[in-house]
């Protein structure tokens, strides 16, 4: 919270300070929009701080100054991607007027909205799950499927952590994370802000397809973790990685396996039974709720609890 506090303008700080302490623990997002009151998202519900004055242009300047340490040129890449990762792994999304060059986004100018997504690493989130994902001390290729905000990244992060630290039944392996959106490891200047154990190497802000190949070539990982596959290049890179004998844990947007099968870019992965496990999650009973675990044929997997409880 400390690092987020630093970037907020004084009036927003005061407005949030007036809230009850317990509420602050559940803040998921802080949204700032020019001319609008500040919005907090608490456990999926929104709360407007309409007693405080609306967020102003001066506030935008303040937040930007803090994000780039008064130096806009340090944010060049970030202004192109549309978000900034700050210390603690929190992400600040940006929206405003976009300047393009040759049809590609060059930067966002005249920023009018900030969305501060508060990262909370849930250590142990995947603990109940990993037993299903290991076979004879080898990590199975796994795809985590769920709609946005269901905790896919949280699960991935914890899987990476568990794989890297190991355990009684778990082999500790070298983990390579290709973190295109800086969300899994939450790197600041290349250093992971989340606790991921000692055997993790991160390619931060790297395009997934290229990053997976780079990892295999240079870092000899046993397990590669990537977020949100779905593009054609990703699929090709995944085929390549599996041929190289590296285990993969990935996530994809979707409500279930059937829906994913309709995406032409992902379909070949499923058809060729590239993944050994599909984990379907939802928000039905809070984020990270595991609906079902399927094997490569799409059948439910049953594993005795004793086997994996560590």
């Amino acid at each position: 919270m400390e690092t987020i506090w630093r970037i907020l303008p004084h009036d927003v700080q005061q407005a949030i300070d007036r809230l009850q302490r317990e509420k602050l623990h559940n803040v998921e997002e802080i949204r700032l929009r020019v001319g609008q009151p500040v919005e907090l998202v608490l456990e999926g519900k929104s709360l407007f701080l309409d007693k405080a004055p609306p967020f102003s242009i001066i506030g935008v300047r303040h937040v930007l100054d803090r994000l780039g340490e008064f130096s806009l040129y340090t944010l060049e890449e970030e202004l192109k991607r549309g978000y900034v990762t700050i210390e603690g792994g929190h992400r600040v999304g940006l929206a405003g007027r976009v300047v393009t060059e040759k049809g590609h986004v060059k930067l966002i100018r005249d920023i009018s909205s900030f969305n501060i997504r508060i990262a909370r690493q849930k250590i142990g989130a995947a603990k109940g799950l990993v037993g299903w994902l290991i076979h004879y001390k080898r990590w199975l290729n796994t795809l985590i499927i769920g709609p946005p905000q269901t905790g896919k990244t949280t699960l991935l992060r914890d899987i990476a952590r568990l794989a890297s630290i190991g355990g009684d039944k778990l082999p500790a392996v070298k983990v390579g994370i290709v973190d295109e959106r800086s969300e899994i490891a939450g790197c600041v200047k290349g250093v992971p802000q989340n606790d991921l154990g000692a055997r993790v190497d991160v390619l931060d802000a790297c395009p997934k397809a290229e990053g997976m190949m780079m990892m295999i070539r240079s870092m000899s990982p046993d397990l590669i973790v990537v977020d949100e596959i779905g593009r054609k290049e990703d699929t090709e890179a995944l085929f390549e990685a599996l041929n190289a004998g590296v285990s993969i844990v990935a996530s994809a947007h979707g409500f279930g396996l059937e829906q994913l099968l309709q995406r032409p870019t992902v379909q070949p992965l499923i058809d060729q039974q590239l993944f050994d496990r599909y984990v379907i999650i939802s928000r039905r009973k809070g984020p990270g709720h595991i609906e079902e675990i399927l094997d490569k044929n799409g059948k439910r997997v049953r594993v005795l609890e004793k086997e994996w409880a560590t």
Binding site: E69, Y73, E76
Partner: protein, 170 residues
């Protein structure tokens, strides 16, 4: 007694002359230094991509006075996080300038430069630095001309003025 007094008068007059001459000698030197500081800043920004605060801190460690004071004061002001970069820059200039041999012109150049600092992408920052550098260059040439014109003259003028007073008093 009289002779001692005369000596004191000549001595002080010479000292005043030298002091005034020093202003003329120091100005081009400090201007040159300021230019090299801006060049280092350019490298920090375009290649190192370091934020202004960090760059200023590093510069303050490398530079001799008064550049050292300028950048260390500036980075300290920025680190408080209570004011905008432009305010911190202007305040620093106001504070440091009276202690240097540099004039209003250079201060104006630096003020204008500060108004653009940190507000654009790398390419633009580089342009702004180049612009400030070329302005400073002009000032430096002017300062050098003034130095060659006045430095020696002021030095001897001080001594001679002292001598004149002594002769008149005798």
């Amino acid at each position: 007694m009289k002779y001692i007094g005369a000596l004191i008068i000549i001595f002080t007059a010479t000292a005043i002359g030298r002091l005034l001459a020093m202003q003329f000698r120091e100005r081009p030197r400090q201007l040159r230094q300021l230019k090299s500081a801006l060049q280092s800043l350019e490298t920090e920004i375009t290649y190192g991509l370091s934020p202004i605060g960090q760059a200023a801190k590093r510069l303050s460690e490398q530079l001799p006075q008064p550049g050292k004071n300028l950048f260390s004061y500036f980075s300290a002001k920025l680190a408080t996080g209570e004011m905008s970069l432009q305010d911190a820059w202007d305040e620093t200039l106001d504070k440091i300038w009276p202690k240097t041999a540099m004039k209003k012109n250079e201060k104006e150049i630096m003020k204008q430069f500060g108004a653009t600092l940190g507000l654009s992408d790398r390419e633009n920052q580089q342009k702004q630095i180049r612009l400030a550098l070329s302005h400073l260059e002009r000032e430096e040439i002017e300062a050098r001309a003034a130095q060659s014109q006045y430095e020696k003259m002021l030095k001897s003028l001080g001594f001679l003025a002292g001598l004149l007073i002594v002769i008149l008093l005798f």
